[in-house]
Each structure stands twice: as C-alpha cells, then as structure tokens.
C-alpha cells in the first residue's frame, strides 16, 4: 500500500503520531547541535565556494519515505531551526520597525515589499472562476520574474556567493502557495522556514559590522530575535494579504480538527515569545499563591524577568478568547496576530470553528503551549506525507543525506 493519503492498512490508528516521528528526532536532548558549528564551519561565506548547490528535487514519494526523511540532515536542520528561533525570540515583542537591520535582512525585506507592490499592481479579476482568483497566477509569475534579481541583490549586499541562489529561490517560490492549485498551507510555510534557514546558515543575515566579538556572533548566529520576528511577521503579513486578495483555498485543511487552515509556525513563534517571561513569572507567582482569572491580563504584581515585553503586559493562553486583548497584542506577538486573522476571516463561535485553539487556550502556561505546538508540528506537518511530499531537497542547505550528528553536509 503506497497510497499517499493512506497509511499502511491497520484497523486501529496509532494513538499518537508524534511517537513514531519522535523515534527519529534529532538532536537528542543531550546532544543538541550548536549553531556555531553549522554557521561557521559549514556555511561560512568564505568557505562555501566548495559547496555544490543544486536545483531542489522532491524526494518524498511515498509514506515509506517519511521514515528516512526523519533521519536526514534536512530534517535535523529543520528541528534545529525551530529550536533556535524559539530560543532567540523568547521574551521579545514583535518590533514595530526594521531600523538598523543588516544588509542581508534589508534585502529580504525588499523582496516582501516587492510582493506587496505586485499584489497592488495585479488586482483580482472579475468573471467566472471556480474559487481562487486566476490573477494569483499572474502575480505568481511576476514574482518569479522579479525574485531572481532580488535574491541576487540580497546575496551581494550580504557578501555571499550567488551560487546559493538556485536553492534559496526554490524555497522562496515554494513559500508563496501553489500556482496550480491556487491554495496555501503549512507545506508552503515550511518552505519559507527553509528559505529563512538557508539565508541564515549562509551568513546572509548576519551583520558583520555590529560586533567584532566572534563569540557573540556565534552565540546568536549573527541575527537577533527582533530581526527574526520582523522577518517572519512580514512574511505572515504578506501571505495573509495574498490569501485574501486572491481568495486562495486552504490547502489540505483539517477543518475544525486542525490548528489553523493555513498556518502553524506563527503559533510556535508567538508562544516562544511569551514562554520565557511566563516561566520566570510563574516561578515567582507560585510562591505568592496569587490566582488570576483565565483570560485576564495579568497585572504586574510580581517580579518578572526584565524584558521589553513587560510594557505590553503578558496575556495568558486563555486571552485568545478575549477580542480586546487579541487586538492589543496582535502587533507585538505573532501568536495573537494569527488569532486576530482567524477572528477576521472566520464566522461563528470560536470554540466551534477553532476547537483545537480553543482547547489550547486552557493550557496553563506558554511553555506547555509551545512544547505541544512543536510536538504537533512534528506529527502533523513534518510527519504527514501530503504536506512534505512537495518539499525540495538541494545539495547544501537541506540535503537528502543521513544526519551524521554534526553540522551536516561538509
């Protein structure tokens, strides 16, 4: 049985898909990959001339390929990215502007601006159609024409070899939805994670002028949480706009039984933003015996970890049910920006159209929410054939080679 949508016949489905995937998860808790090794040894701008970039190729053809996928360097790097991003954004609110960002990052932002401009220039067309607006195809082709130059510019600005473009461009175009199907889903979002990760691995996002301290560069991989948040929130902004503008279908949505019709990453990143503050806060709070009604904004009655976030208050997971809090938080937190989009597009009671998010609102802490979302991502996105069948593997950034426990392809 190799039906893409049909797991090997069994009368009782597994209780938890995560366990099957978890068996192959890298890195194991005790040996996490250190960002410096990947950033410095493998992808340093000065040493990657010997690397062989190549056009992305689909390698996941049947459900059986998922097992090998979970053992590849590509998979390990995706895991690494998720954990790196989560640590980097902890306690940091989404910034309000992109001031002082590195040349590589301004290069990425220039691409997003161009996507916006093209969407303005290419309005949806009127006339008969099944669902998605055919003008999306015009927009997609226009982006395809423009993006090559834009990625080249970004790589030049960041002083990175333009050879990497073949892989980066594949991931970028894969992140904009399906040209043929006029839909958008978590597979496309995964492709953006790969684009971001690729740029970062290559050193294209690092600001060499910012610090001369090599150790500090290595610790942060040359990028700050603020910058990561800005890049991702710009991406989500653009995609939400495109989804609405051209009426893209939810790709392979699980309907009310999934997390969200289109997205998963904003929830992980947003929960990670809040996780650090709450952990600190909760520790202190336990001692005070204070209780707060769910859904309320916590008054700063106890000592919190010092962070920029403090001035925006700290919503609890239950606050997603409170539209006022959602409106207040959407610009400073990516989880709440995703919830705000749901309120914008969905009709009906929240618990009915979004029961999974509703259940998560009952989880007591952001660190539990975050950990659960990661487990769910591994099972429902990385572990699902219909989603990852479209993921492309190249020669350098996300290779279809066994993970060897180190930085990967050397």
């Amino acid at each position: 049985m190799m039906d893409f949508s049909t797991p090997p016949a069994r009368s009782t489905p597994p209780q938890n898909d995560a366990s099957a995937i978890g068996a192959h998860q890298h890195p194991q808790a005790s040996e996490r990959i250190h960002p410096p090794r990947i950033a410095k040894i493998v992808f340093s701008p000065r040493t990657h001339s010997h690397l062989h970039f190549k056009s992305l190729e689909k390698r996941i053809h049947t459900t059986d390929d998922l097992t090998y996928f979970a053992s590849t360097a590509a998979y390990a790097r995706i895991q690494f990215l998720l954990s790196f991003i989560s640590s980097a954004v902890s306690t940091i609110p989404t910034p309000k502007s992109a001031d002082d960002f590195s040349p590589g990052i301004s290069g990425i932002l220039a691409i997003f601006d161009r996507l916006d401009e093209l969407a303005e220039a290419i309005p949806p067309i009127t006339g008969p159609r099944r669902f998605g607006n055919p003008a999306y195809k015009t927009w997609f082709s226009a982006v395809e024409n423009a993006v090559s130059t834009l990625i080249t510019d970004m790589l030049h600005k960041a002083d990175v070899s333009v050879e990497a473009k073949v892989e980066l461009q594949g991931y970028f175009m894969g992140a904009l939805g399906s040209f043929q199907r006029l839909d958008f889903g978590t597979g496309h979002e995964l492709s953006f994670l790969a684009f971001f990760g690729g740029c970062w691995f290559l050193g294209a996002l690092r600001d060499t002028s910012r610090s001369n301290d090599a150790a500090e560069l290595d610790e942060t991989g040359g990028i700050t949480g603020k910058e990561i948040l800005w890049i991702f929130s710009r991406y989500f902004q653009v995609i939400r706009k495109i989804v609405r503008h051209y009426n893209l279908e939810p790709a392979g949505s699980h309907g009310v039984w999934g997390l969200d019709d289109h997205f998963h990453l904003p929830y992980i990143i947003g929960a990670a933003q809040l996780r650090g503050i709450q952990e600190k806060h909760e520790t202190v709070k336990e001692g005070t015996g204070a209780t707060d009604p769910p859904g309320s904004m916590l008054p700063p009655t106890t000592k919190r970890k010092e962070s920029d976030y403090t001035k925006y208050g700290m919503p609890r997971p239950a606050a997603v049910m409170n539209r006022t809090v959602v409106a207040d938080q959407m610009d400073v937190n990516i989880y709440f920006s995703a919830i705000a989009f749901i309120y914008e597009v969905k009709k009906g009671p929240f618990f009915e159209h979004s029961p999974v998010l509703y259940d998560i609102s009952d989880v007591p802490s952001w660190s539990k929410v975050h950990a659960g979302l990661l487990r769910m991502y591994n099972a429902e996105v990385l572990g699902k054939f219909p989603v990852v069948q479209h993921f492309g593997f190249g020669g350098v950034l996300f290779p279809w080679t066994p993970f060897n426990g180190g930085g990967g392809a050397r």
Binding site: D3, F131, G255, V256, K347, G348, V356
Partner: protein
Amino acid sequence: MPGLTRTIDLDGCIERLYRRELLAESVVEAVCAKAKELLINESNVIHIKAPVSVVGDIHGQFFDLIELFRVGGFPPQTNYLFLGDYVDRGYFSIETISLLTCLKLRYPNRVYLVRGNHESRGISQNYGFYSECKAKYGNSNVWNYFTDMFDYLTLSVVIDDRIFCIHGGLSPNVHSIDQIKVVDRFKEIPHEGPMADLVWSDPDPDKEDFGISTRGAGYTFGAEIVKKFLHVNGMVHILRAHQLCDQGFQVLFDDRLSTVWSAPNYCYRCGNMASVLEVSDSGERTFNVFDAAPENEEYREQQALQHNTMTEYFL
C-alpha cells in the same frame, strides 16, 4: 454478533439525529451492519430515474445539510443522490453520516449514497472524522464501524441513462461505463487505478487530455476526454462534486460537465455559496443555491459546555 440481528427503530434514530443527538455506540454498530447488508447488493453503477436532487460535498456541516433539506425538500418527499465527502473538516461529521445512513436504510430507493475520497480510512483518519469520533465517543469504535461501511458504498450512478454521476471524475483506465461494473469496490480506496481515479480526479477546463493531478492521486481531464466519454457511453452530461465552488456550482465544457458543491461558507471562512442540483423528469437541470444556515447560538453554547478536549499534544 448481537448487533446484526437486532431491529433498529429507524424513524426514532432519524428523529433523534434531526435534533442533532448522537446515536448510542451499539446503535451505530447495528446501523452500519444493516447498511452493509443493503449496500452489498448495489451495483458499482446504479441506474436511477429523475426527478432527483443531487448533493455535493457536505464535510460534516450538519446545520447546512438541514438548510439544504429546507431548500430542496426533506426525504422522502424529494429523492436524493449524494455524491460523497460526508465526513471530515466540519464539526458534525458523525451527525451527518449517521443521519444519511439512517435515511438510506429507511428509504433505500429514494436516497443514494456515492463514495467520496474522504469515505476512506486513510483520509478520514487524518482530516477530522477520526478525531471527532474520539472526542465525541471517547474511543474510535464508531470510526471503525463507519469506515468499514464506507467500503460498501457505490462508485457511480446514472440518471435516466443520460447523466453519469461520480464524486471526482474520469479515469484513463475507464473508457466504457461497463468497465466500472467489474471493479472490486469492497475495500479501502486504493492509491491508483480506476477506483481511485473516480473519487479523486478533477476536470481541467484549459486542457484537452488527461494530465497529472497535483492532489497526488487521480488525474485531471480535459474537454476532449469528456466528449469522448459521453459519446462512447451514449450520455449527455457528467455530474460530480469534489471541488469547492465560489457560487456553489460550476458548469464546464459547453454544458457537458457540472460540479455541485453543498458546503456553504466552507470551513467557516471561504464565503462561498452552496447548491443542490435538481434534475427534473424531463432532464432539466436547475441549481438551487443556498447560503450558510442561520446560527443556532443556544445549541452551540451547550455544545461548548460538553466540549471534549482532544489536545493530546498539550498534556
């Protein structure tokens, strides 16, 4: 097996289900067993007579199914042909498929159920029906009963020897309708071959021939394929579901093929209309378009209280 011989109070079940009350697990078991006994005798190609109202994807949107009955008439006053995709994505797949199965048992010659690509273990395990069964019954028994029953659903219906009806579309392996009759359909939907294509394929208005489908199963098929199929089989029209339509329906290839879609405001957000297609005894086709059902807030609030958490990832 006690369930097999037991008599079922079908009218009582239907009444309950119209009130959106779930049937007991043992009753679902008996209903599914009875349904299998009935469906096993249906051909892979059932010939029926108009008038009949044809329904597309419902995907557990129970409120909207009731709205559809209000628009098109309740069975058995109106004859119905359902083109599959009863379950997954929506909040009320169990209520929907329970009601349709009971209606089929109660009025076997006035209600016909065709198999859609979601009436399979592989798909419904991943796209909501399985989660819903676990959430509402606390175990997966009901999912097992229904998915075993799905294996018996027919693949196609012909109305008045003129209109060929399937869930998805045509197959490069099926030139003549007679070829469908010999398919062994009593199994999980395979990943390729005629049975897979009938429930997975989509028309492509920009093409003439068959093409690769981006769905990863089935094919796309163009104008020339449709013409040839109709000619070879002496039919005038192909009627199918399977694709979201903004207006609730879409007519292609010089009126040789229609898509009917019956889930309004799909996934609570698509803003689309739905339709039910009436085929009159003179062969006329009329789409009755309808919008999402008015909300019943009171009931929905109760539902919130009963809500059963299923976030295993977050424990």
